[in-house]
């Protein structure tokens, strides 16, 4: 069957079971947009290509399927650069298709020409410039394979206009037809190393599981839960991993890092064994690397061998898929005689009194004793820290200020517990991560590694498209909102009922916080104004319901109202207290030992 390259491309996307794509047409991609009319794939017309990329990311994060975005050449393609860089940092599977000027014009500085494969070389897992229509089905297959296997990531396919217009004989490649001789993602871990890791697990006195985004990418939440419960080892969940282990679980210590909980940060500092699962020792987690968890041995499991020994040398470095390696570890623990979780009910970390007192009957077979028993003093210490250094804020009852943390708590308590939360980047993101209770995987969508302001609105839209059955809230800042808010037009036009909570403190809040703390309160270029723009008027002009809340007493009512609206997007402009800062905090480059707690807790004695 002879078809055009454009038809072959759309047919190839259909063969990959793509159900939706996000994009905006233009000159060079025109031929590809024609067969979209006849395709089963839903195309969502965005208002800016950056929105398409972030929507595809949000979609991918909540569904686990690759997100697909499409843009034309030149500025269309360069507008997708930020989402590609974002997805590359956070290992999100994306397939971005860009139009290119005809092959005969490449290199001539033609209208809307840009070297997008050159530009995106360092921010994609791989990219392709297609030069022959007959390559399209094979390259699309390769692109989806590369994006979704191993460490997931974004890929880009650049299609010159004449290639899309020329014809080819349709075929669909088998896996053997893929031409990727240098691509061999790892899967299982080395059994000898897994056994070594299991032995370390059983011998540790102060172990901590340092769970990262790789747990979510490898669908390993259930395996992680079993590992934690069987061993009684407490878990920290990084910003990229929030929800991979339930916040309400007694073994959960919350988020580590620059704005992590005191207990999560300090547990890692004092631990004698860090079990890093799909995490990468990011500088926002480690603080000053030399003093990070200085007394800990390290087991590091990652599907990307290059992450092993990159920042911190591991005592046991296992290249492998997190889920498979955790399952292998559980089998190794069986072989070492560790009883199943039925016999080792996890001990609540809530209070030292909950620590187990009597040793289980079958403990005799294990020389070192059951981890659960041995870890009791460690968990008692953690529980003490949790009690002494909880997350705190003070919502004045006189209504003089609306605290952002209060808004998050009200939102958390008024929405279903499996609500998907998307966020931008800054104070609001940290407040959301700290004060939400993530009890389900794939309910937290944010820009972790790249820190992309403006991520929340389009990512929430993509998430809602992927999971229309779930309530989706974006928690955004006023600075972030202004970067990509126009995508709410897309949401209105396509009837995607997302809800946006703007924590409007009229500042670039995180920058303001740093200027207050580290630049002698010299506020340089951070004031934004609470009224310009008029967020309610703007929201309404984009087809959304707009609500303004200034009084703490009105918060719950506004949220209830928003929760009942399902036929259009809702934007709530919460006027929050600009002086509120995110604590705890580890100053950039400082040691995690020097964590600053909320000023109201400063006098309490440390670990």
């Amino acid at each position: 069957m002879e078809i055009t390259g454009a038809q072959a491309l759309i047919k190839s996307l259909e063969m990959q079971s793509v159900e939706v794509m996000f994009g905006l047409p233009g000159g060079a991609i025109l031929p590809v947009y024609d067969p979209i009319i006849d395709s089963s794939i839903r195309h969502i017309l965005v208002r800016h290509e950056q929105g398409a990329g972030h929507m595809a990311e949000g979609y991918a994060q909540v569904t686990g399927r690759p997100g697909v975005a499409m843009a034309t050449s030149g500025p269309g393609a360069t507008n997708v650069v930020t989402p590609l860089a974002d997805a590359f940092m956070d290992s999100i599977p994306l397939v971005v298709v860009t139009g290119q000027v005809p092959t005969t014009s490449i290199g001539t500085d033609a209208f809307q020409e840009s070297d997008i494969t050159g530009i995106t070389m360092g921010i994609t897992k791989h990219n392709w410039l297609i030069t022959k229509a007959e390559d399209i089905p094979r390259v699309v297959s390769e692109a989806f394979h590369v994006a979704t296997t191993g460490r997931p990531g974004p890929v880009l396919i650049d299609i010159p206009k004449d290639v899309a217009q020329s014809t080819m004989e349709w075929y669909w490649p088998t896996p053997d037809d893929l031409d990727l001789p240098g691509y061999r993602p790892v899967r299982e871990g080395d059994p000898a190393l897994v056994r070594e890791a299991a032995e370390l697990l059983l011998a540790a006195e102060r172990p901590v599981i340092y769970a990262g985004g790789g747990i979510l990418k490898s669908r390993a939440s259930a395996a992680l839960l079993e590992l934690a419960e069987r061993t009684g080892i407490p878990v920290v969940t990084t910003l990229m991993a929030r929800g991979c282990f339930p916040d309400s679980h007694p073994l959960c210590l919350g988020m580590p890092g620059m704005h992590g909980t005191y207990t999560a940060v300090t547990a890692m500092q004092k631990s004698d064994l860090l079990i890093a699962l799909g995490s990468r020792f990011d500088d926002r987690v480690t603080g000053q690397v030399g003093s990070f968890a200085a007394g800990a041995r390290v087991i590091h499991v990652d599907v990307d061998p290059a992450e092993l020994n990159k920042v911190r040398r591991a005592d046991v470095a296992i290249a492998g898929d997190c889920r498979l390696v955790i399952e292998e570890m559980l089998a190794a623990l069986d072989a070492l005689g560790l009883p199943h979780s039925a016999d080792t009910q996890a001990t609540p970390g809530g209070s030292p009194a909950d620590a187990p007192t009597g040793a289980p009957a079958e403990a005799g077979s294990m020389a070192a004793g059951l981890p659960r028993e041995r870890l009791a003093p460690w968990r008692a210490r953690l529980a003490e820290w949790q009690e002494r250094f909880p997350l705190v804020y003070n919502q004045p009852e006189d209504g003089s200020a609306l605290k952002p943390q209060f808004v998050i708590e009200q939102l958390r308590d008024a929405t279903p517990e499996d609500t998907i939360v998307a966020s931008g980047v800054g104070q609001h993101q940290m407040f959301a991560s700290q004060w939400w209770r993530f009890d389900h995987p794939y309910t937290w969508v944010n820009s972790g590694g790249l820190g992309t302001m403006g991520f929340a609105v389009p990512a929430a839209i993509g998430a809602k498209v992927g999971r229309p059955d779930k309530m989706v809230w974006a928690v955004d800042g006023d600075g972030c909102f202004q970067m990509t808010a126009q995508e709410l037009v897309t949401a209105s036009a396509e009837q995607i009922p997302v809800k946006i909570a703007i924590l409007n403190n009229a500042y670039l809040g995180m920058v303001r916080q740093w200027q207050e703390m580290f630049y002698e309160e010299r506020y340089s270029e951070v004031y934004l104004s609470p009224d310009l723009p008029d967020y309610v008027g703007w929201a309404e002009s984009m087809g959304c319901v707009g609500i303004r809340v200034e009084d703490p007493a009105d918060v719950a009512g506004a949220i209830d109202k928003a929760n009942q609206i399902n036929d259009r997007p809702v934007v709530i402009d919460f006027r929050t207290d600009a002086s509120e800062k995110v604590f705890p905090m580890v100053a950039a480059g400082s040691s995690n030992d020097d964590i600053m707690v909320d000023p109201s807790l400063e006098n309490r004695s440390r670990a």
Binding site: G118, V146, P181, G182, D304, A306, L308
Partner: protein, 165 residues
């Protein structure tokens, strides 16, 4: 270049890559982005037209070397990477030099004779010579050519294959 080629920071990697457009750009972009130093580079297709071989001499300490290799391996068109030690491999470079020969032609011929070099061009009192050899040998030859007066000099990147035994 002289005298540096044997420092412990120099590691010779032989990298088999797919013979596809922009592969060298991907390798170069990776080195630039991650701030790794390339000391020398040689690229050419292999006997199998599907693949090219890149010989890279990287200028790094041992521990970043592990990262260099792992990051290179992540590039999709990179098929295999092998580090070649000086002892475990045959390494060659080619040197071309134009020298002021003056009345010292016979000394130059002796030098070339000792190292299987050749005169490839001459005129206006100058001679262009070519010598192939192991990098250290070329360092020494380069130094001796200096005594004649070097007008221009060009050395290739190193190429290398593992020793047979």
């Amino acid at each position: 270049m002289t005298s540096e080629s044997m420092t412990s920071r120099h590691h010779t990697l032989t990298v088999l890559v797919e013979n596809k457009p922009a592969v060298l750009a991907r390798v170069a972009s990776l080195f630039s982005r991650r701030a790794y130093n390339i000391f020398s580079l040689a690229v050419a297709p292999t006997d199998d037209p599907r693949f090219s071989r890149i010989t890279i001499v990287v200028d790094v300490d041992e521990s970043p070397l592990e990262q260099v290799i792992k990051q290179l391996d992540k590039l999709i068109p990179v098929v295999s990477i092998r580090e070649l030690s000086a002892e475990g491999s045959c390494q060659r470079e080619l040197l071309l030099a134009t020298v002021e020969v003056g009345d010292a032609r016979s000394e130059l011929d002796t030098l070339l004779g000792e190292h299987k070099g050749a005169v490839v061009d001459e005129g206006q009192g100058r001679v262009t010579v070519s010598v192939a050899g192991a990098p250290d040998d070329l360092d020494r030859i380069e130094a001796r050519l200096g005594s004649f007066g070097i007008v221009e000099l060009q050395r290739t990147g190193r190429i290398a294959l593992p020793r047979l035994a």
